[in-house]
């Protein structure tokens, strides 16, 4: 807060600044990101210390599968961002369509993730087979749990949008914030597991 008080006065803005969704959700976003940062740091540290073993195991991953999954999740994020804007504009039919699109791309991501797991398990890479795959399965699985919760959150969002008497823009934005968190956590996981050398 002190930073704000000591900062030079900002030029007047035409529209009022507002926090998207419940400010409370941002506590989750920041706290959960910090927990993940801790997981990532542990992974990167051990990875850097045992580079050769990690590289060898990592070569089993299909980068293009990861890229596809990432783009699917980014697209779902894009859809829910549109959903927030259309809901704000009162175009609820379009908003509902965008919410379903979000869920759809989420399911595509889920399918790609499961395909990736099945592929790795067929190659003999499991949670216990090597250090790299410990982290791989751990990080993708804990993210998967977040994604599953994300579908519950989307359910809440659709419930909000479906009834004229509900339609709380705040809750819609809160749900979207959660979904974007799932998205950006995956962006990090993808870079760290698939690309980092």
């Amino acid at each position: 807060m002190t930073t704000i008080e000591t900062a030079p006065p900002t030029p007047p803005v035409t529209e009022t600044k507002r926090v998207p969704g419940q400010p409370d959700m941002w506590v989750f976003v920041i706290f959960e990101s910090l927990i993940f940062t801790a997981y990532f740091a542990v992974y990167l540290y051990y990875r850097a210390r045992h580079e050769a073993a990690f590289l060898a195991a990592q070569s089993h991953l299909e980068l293009w599968l990861g890229v596809l999954a990432t783009i699917a999740l980014l697209t779902s994020s894009w859809s829910i961002a549109r959903c927030v804007q259309t809901a704000r504009a009162g175009r609820y039919k379009t908003a509902v369509r965008d919410a379903y699109l979000t869920a759809g791309f989420g399911v595509v991501f889920m399918g790609l993730k499961i395909a990736d797991w099945v592929h790795q398990i067929h190659l003999g890479n499991t949670f216990t087979s090597s250090q790299f795959f410990q982290y791989y399965f751990f990080l993708t699985a804990i993210h998967f749990v977040h994604l599953l919760i994300g579908f519950v959150v989307l359910g809440v969002l659709l419930y909000q949008l479906s009834g004229a008497e509900r339609r709380s823009q705040e809750i819609v934005e809160t749900c979207a914030t959660y979904w974007h968190t799932v998205d950006f956590l995956w962006v990090l996981i993808f870079a760290l597991l698939y690309v980092v050398r």
């Binding site: 409370d24 506590v27 989750f28 949670f127």
Partner: protein, 256 residues
């Protein structure tokens, strides 16, 4: 805020709160400093090393766990306070009762088994080292690996807070419950690994988890305190409780 006074209408809440703080402090001191079971012993110890471990912490283990055996019942106070907090919310009582039962049950695998297993191991240092190792595993794994109650419990509390319209707890604490629930999941690999970051003393399965749990516990104790401070029972005499109170339950809204 002075210590609970005789006439303080909130005294029973304060007794429970101080007892809860006392219990968590005692619990931390005993587990970290007296018995040295936190941070946990090494999962990769050979049977002989386990026997040495029991011998090394002999007195601390026996005295520390004896204190838990004597005072562990106080764990019910924080559960009762949280149950009460959920009762104050505009949600079904089912949430409150689920929380109460989940955590009442969790006491046995949550801290009683480790006390029994470690006491048994320390009790007979000359026991076959293979069996000592079994007791050691039983102690640590029952303690770390039974997180389901805490997972579901946190989710129940979270849902109640998010649905509540009385603002008993801030919404952000509801979301913090989700963070806590998700770190509980992460302990599960301790059933699989002897060493590394996912073992029962690992960086991820133990250190990060305990850190999050510590913050979570500190936060909810402070929030419970705020809840009690905000509680307004008035300062008048206790409601008259004729023997017919049951017929007129309106006089004691919350006692029902």
């Amino acid at each position: 805020m002075s210590l609970p006074l005789r006439d303080d209408p909130k005294r029973e809440l304060w007794y429970a709160w101080y007892a809860a703080v006392f219990f968590y402090t005692l619990y931390s001191v005993i587990f970290f400093l007296v018995t040295h079971v936190q941070p946990p012993g090494q999962p990769w110890y050979t049977p002989t090393q386990v026997t040495h471990w029991f011998a090394h912490y002999h007195n601390g283990l026996l005295i520390g766990f004896a204190l838990i055996f004597a005072l562990g019942g106080l764990s019910a106070t924080s559960i009762a306070l949280i149950t009460y907090s959920i009762r104050r919310m505009s949600v079904s009582r089912a949430f409150a009762y689920s929380y109460l039962i989940l955590y009442a049950v969790s006491a046995v695998p949550g801290f009683l088994f480790i006390c029994v297993a470690m006491t048994a191991g320390t009790f007979r240092p000359d026991r076959d080292p293979q069996l000592q190792q079994w007791l050691y595993d039983f102690g640590f794994l029952s303690f770390s690996g039974t997180m389901g109650v805490f997972l579901i419990g946190s989710l129940i509390w979270m849902t109640a807070i998010l649905l509540d319209k009385n603002r008993v707890f801030p919404k952000w604490f509801g979301y913090l419950n989700l963070c806590n629930a998700l770190t509980e999941v992460v302990v599960a690999p301790s059933w699989i690994f002897y060493r590394g970051v996912f073992a029962w003393n690992g960086l991820i399965a133990w250190w990060i988890d305990v850190f999050v749990f510590g913050i979570y516990t500190g936060v909810f104790l402070m929030l419970l305190r705020n809840m009690i401070l905000r509680e307004d029972f008035g300062s008048g005499p206790l409601p008259e409780l004729p023997l017919l109170a049951r017929q007129a339950p309106a006089t004691l809204e919350l006692a029902s």
